[in-house]
């Protein structure tokens, strides 16, 4: 493989799209060609910049609600008049009327599924915690210094993870990493307690199936507690952010850490 050919395959190589044979050829060329190997690291840098730093624009919740009303889910599709409304959607008057009717219906459908939704959030929090425990390198930034951990997230998330508790000798902060909570990115802070690992996930709270009774308002947040698969989980939201604290430590200890983090 010559340099010209190698350069044209770099992106496919990165994406794992070359066949094993071509990949081997390219790898052999890269190891013997400093210029192409540099081009390869530049391609990776560009991909990394685009994947991590390109500003992302998620759809606003109001738009999602409108779309849900426009294209009703089976839970709200009960009779054919609804279908007819769905199809005669175009005129602006119909839009307003549809919104007027659909939004409460949507909320009703959502709230009836809330209990199940909260279970889903609990299950996801436990899964995330397990992923962190099982990962060979759980921490992408390893430091007990909060002022090193927090700035590390800048540019890696589409929100600023606000965390009040910086760690203390009892619950030392071990470090952080970027994870996912359901469909969105999450900041993962890892605290220790004796020999236990405690994960704190911080994520955008909007459009998640929060447990009923949650106000989502500001001030002291009411927490929702649950034990799943032997792990204790505390979920709460404060303003625009959602928090999930997961560990196998005793619920009393976990609650103490939650209190330090700002739950009621």
């Amino acid at each position: 493989m010559d340099c010209r050919e190698s350069t044209s395959h770099l992106l496919d190589y990165q994406r794992g799209r070359l066949g094993p044979e071509r990949e081997e050829e390219l790898r052999a060329h890269l190891s013997g060609c400093p210029s192409c190997s540099r081009s390869e690291s530049i391609e990776r840098t560009l991909t990394d910049l685009l994947e991590r730093r390109l500003p992302q624009h998620p759809a606003p919740i109001a738009l999602k609600l409108r779309l849900a009303a426009q294209w009703p889910s089976p839970a709200v599709t009960k009779s054919s008049w609804w279908e007819r409304w769905g199809r005669s959607w175009a005129p602006a008057g119909a839009v307003a009327l549809l919104l007027f009717m659909a939004v409460p219906l949507y909320y009703q459908a959502v709230s009836s599924r809330r209990a199940g939704g909260a279970e889903r959030m609990i299950a996801e929090a436990v899964n995330d915690h397990l992923r962190i425990l099982q990962s060979g390198h759980p921490l992408e930034v390893e430091s007990g210094n909060f002022h090193q951990v927090k700035p590390w997230f800048a540019g890696k998330l589409d929100f600023a993870p606000a965390v009040r508790f910086l760690g203390d000798p009892e619950f030392p902060l071990k470090g952080g990493s970027v994870g996912y909570f359901l469909d969105r990115k999450a900041a993962v802070f890892t605290y220790g307690y004796r020999l236990h690992v405690i994960s704190l996930l911080v994520f955008r709270a909007e459009s998640l199936p929060w447990p009923a009774g949650d106000t989502g308002g500001s001030g002291k947040a009411r927490a929702y507690e649950k034990t799943a698969r032997g792990f204790n989980v505390i979920l709460w939201r404060e303003g625009e952010l959602g928090y999930a604290l997961v560990s196998d430590v005793d619920p009393t200890e976990l609650r103490r850490l939650a209190a330090k983090l700002g739950t009621a």
Partner: protein
């Protein structure tokens, strides 16, 4: 009158379709350059998809289908009537492409390090300065679409997608290198 089975499958399709709202909105935002038009475009996309739901065959790629509808909606007159018709361009000729295609590779490691320090805003700005098609190709690549899927969305050959993506990335490298100075 719609049969219950059809209505149910349409509902399921709708639920799956809504899962792509963020990705579609992101592309719409980079195509139109503002939130109001992006919202209109995404809403129009779903309205068109809903109308054409009967033509969608289960098992085919719903995400690619929605992206195709969005892009076609954007091209077919959407831009003409909008507030900001000058964002980017629909031209397939790349204003930066000619000079960027052969070069764009930072000359030394210092330049590479500088490139690593480019801020988010500049990366967004660099992407916005590409023509519409280049922006679409780059964003769809980031969304995890294969070149064959992008080719379906753009209605062109896979080889064309490959070369457009390479050219768009070369331009971005050049622009980011310049911003980093």
């Amino acid at each position: 009158m719609v049969l219950a089975g059809v209505s149910e499958s349409r509902g399921a399709l709708g639920r799956e379709a809504l899962a792509y709202a963020d990705g579609l909105y992101n592309l719409a935002r980079y195509l139109t350059g503002n939130d109001a038009d992006a919202e209109d475009l995404v809403q129009e996309t779903y309205a068109l998809a809903l109308r054409a739901a009967g033509q969608f065959s289960t098992g085919t790629n719903l995400k690619a289908w929605l992206f195709r509808i969005l892009r076609n909606a954007f091209i077919s007159g959407y831009r003409r009537q909008r507030r900001n018709p000058t964002v980017g361009g629909l031209d397939t000729t790349d204003p930066h492409g000619q000079e960027a295609a052969p070069g764009g590779w930072p000359r030394d490691d210092m330049e590479l390090d500088q490139m690593r320090n480019v801020v988010a805003e500049d990366i967004g700005k660099a992407l916005m300065s590409l023509p519409e098609e280049a922006r679409t190709v780059v964003l769809m690549d980031l969304e995890g679409f294969t070149e064959a899927e992008v080719a379906q969305v753009l209605d062109c050959a896979v080889g064309t997608v490959k070369s457009r993506l390479a050219r768009a990335r070369a331009t971005l490298r050049q622009l980011l290198k310049d911003y980093a100075r």
